[in-house]
């Protein structure tokens, strides 16, 4: 975990510094990666919060990744109904462009 955080910080630092360099160059849009990354992370957080509040879902089994407003859901849930519920919950979050629902079925044979 620690290494990941250091790596992320390092990457961010590199991007920030490169963004600064580019800012003086001909392309004023080059600072985009940082804000896009932050936006992805913020949106992922909103989606996770929405899933955590949805009755009948187990958010410790759903994994959320976001890229440019496109949400990828993975992990596993009990049945198709729950998978659809997770998908529609994610779609309903403000800022979500589309949902790639890759959640699989793992059922304990109950309900």
């Amino acid at each position: 975990m620690k290494t990941t955080r250091i790596l992320t910080a390092g990457l961010l630092a590199i991007m920030l510094s490169s963004a600064n360099v580019f800012a003086q160059g001909p392309s004023p849009d080059a600072s985009a990666p940082v804000s896009v990354k932050a936006a992805n992370r913020a949106l992922a957080k909103s989606v996770r919060r929405a899933l955590g509040r949805t009755k009948g879902l187990d958010p410790t089994r759903i994994y959320v990744k976001v890229s440019n407003g496109v949400v990828t859901l993975s992990g596993n849930l009990r049945n198709q109904k729950q998978i659809d519920l997770a998908g529609s919950t994610a779609s309903g979050v403000q800022g979500v462009v589309s949902v790639d629902n890759r959640i699989t079925i793992f059922d304990e044979g109950d309900n």
């Binding site: 410790t60 089994r61 198709q80 699989t104």
Partner: protein, 348 residues
């Protein structure tokens, strides 16, 4: 378990005009199942240190098929039932010689206050541990270590499962056991469990006690197996961390007296590829300190079909009768074991 093969019997009957009112409209019967088969290689499978290779059914989850149904009774009430048979995919045999619907055979009522069911059903420890085990109680898992000895299912059982209120839910179960006149306590079971979920964190506690049986001339019906367990899990990013504890005491000792500790993690590398690892440690009073080291990887071909691999190592730690694969109930040689499994699982 959700399936394409849902037969809307009640709805069809109603539409045919068999019922004079629409009150019975929402009734359904669903056929479902899970088929799981792989190849296993296991070392020290006998006391002469010989290994064994062969097909092994139900590696991720026991292969099964069943029928479940639900009839809406109105006012938030519904009648529910389930019949589930365990199958050995390697040879087509039923899993249990004495019980056809060995995995589940129950009927009951679902209500706004919870669900009450009677029949053959899972123990509380199974219901409330499945998702607190990084490998979801596969053939190499906490089941190998003896978290749920003598099977995961009980006959003659009454169960109540609450609804979830503010993240909190609970279950209670009682089994009449052998139902032997004059020995009503023989083989009886009582269990209770609570689960609490808050955002990406959840935790649960379970207490169970099982009484010994009478199989003349052996009578252990005065002995109890008491087990208390606490466990928690936390999702961080695309990973989930797990930890748990079990205390076993009482004379019956379905698994040895002592404390069990487990920890592990699941990591979703890509949406299709996930890996998990776990370590189970059993600190027994007088049967050694065994350790189980388990690694698992799953690649999803679709929502319903996946390929998987397992690798496990059992260090018996001076104890007897421990096994890596929980289907092998006792070790012939009390030796350390290494095992690998590769297979395919499909749910329908």
């Amino acid at each position: 378990m959700d399936t394409k093969a849902t037969l809307l019997i009640g709805a069809t009957a109603a539409s045919l005009g068999l019922f004079s009112t629409g009150a019975f409209a929402q009734s359904s019967v669903t056929l479902y199942g899970m088929v799981d088969l792989g190849v296993q290689y296991l070392t020290n499978a006998n006391s002469k240190h010989d290994g064994v290779a062969g097909l092994q059914s139900g590696n991720v989850y026991p292969s099964n098929w069943g029928i479940t149904g639900r009839e809406d009774l109105g006012g938030g009430y519904a009648a529910v039932f389930k019949l589930e048979n365990g199958i050995n995919m390697a040879n087509g045999a039923t899993q249990s010689p004495s019980s056809f619907f060995n995995r589940s055979a129950y009927v009951g009522v679902d209500s706004p206050y919870g669900t009450a069911t009677i029949g053959r059903q899972y123990k509380i420890m199974f219901d409330m541990s499945l998702y607190y085990d990084p490998t979801y109680q596969a053939q190499y898992s906490l089941l190998s270590a003896g978290l749920i000895p003598d099977g995961t299912t009980l006959s003659n059982a009454i169960k109540y499962k609450s609804i979830t209120v503010g993240g909190l839910s609970g279950e209670a179960e009682y089994s009449f056991g052998q139902q032997d006149p004059g020995h009503m306590a023989a083989g009886s079971y009582a269990g209770i469990g609570l689960d609490y979920q808050f955002r990406s964190f959840s935790t649960r506690v379970v207490y169970e006690q099982t009484r010994g049986t009478i199989a003349a001339p052996v009578d252990t019906s005065s002995e109890l197996d008491k087990r208390f367990s606490a466990a928690a899990k936390l999702r961080i990013g695309t990973a989930t961390l797990f930890a748990g504890f079990l205390n076993v005491n009482g004379q019956l000792q379905m698994s040895p007296d002592g404390n069990m500790y487990w920890g592990g993690a699941y990591y979703q590398i890509t949406p299709a590829l996930g890996v998990s690892a776990e370590v189970d440690h059993y600190q027994t009073r007088d049967n050694g300190h065994p350790n189980w080291f388990i690694f698992e990887g799953t690649y999803n071909l679709s929502k319903r079909t996946s390929l998987y691999v397992f690798a496990g190592y059992l260090d018996v730690g001076g104890g007897k009768n421990y096994t890596l694969n929980y289907l092998d109930t006792s070790s012939p040689g009390n030796l350390n074991q290494t095992g690998v499994i590769a297979g395919i699982r499909h749910a329908f």
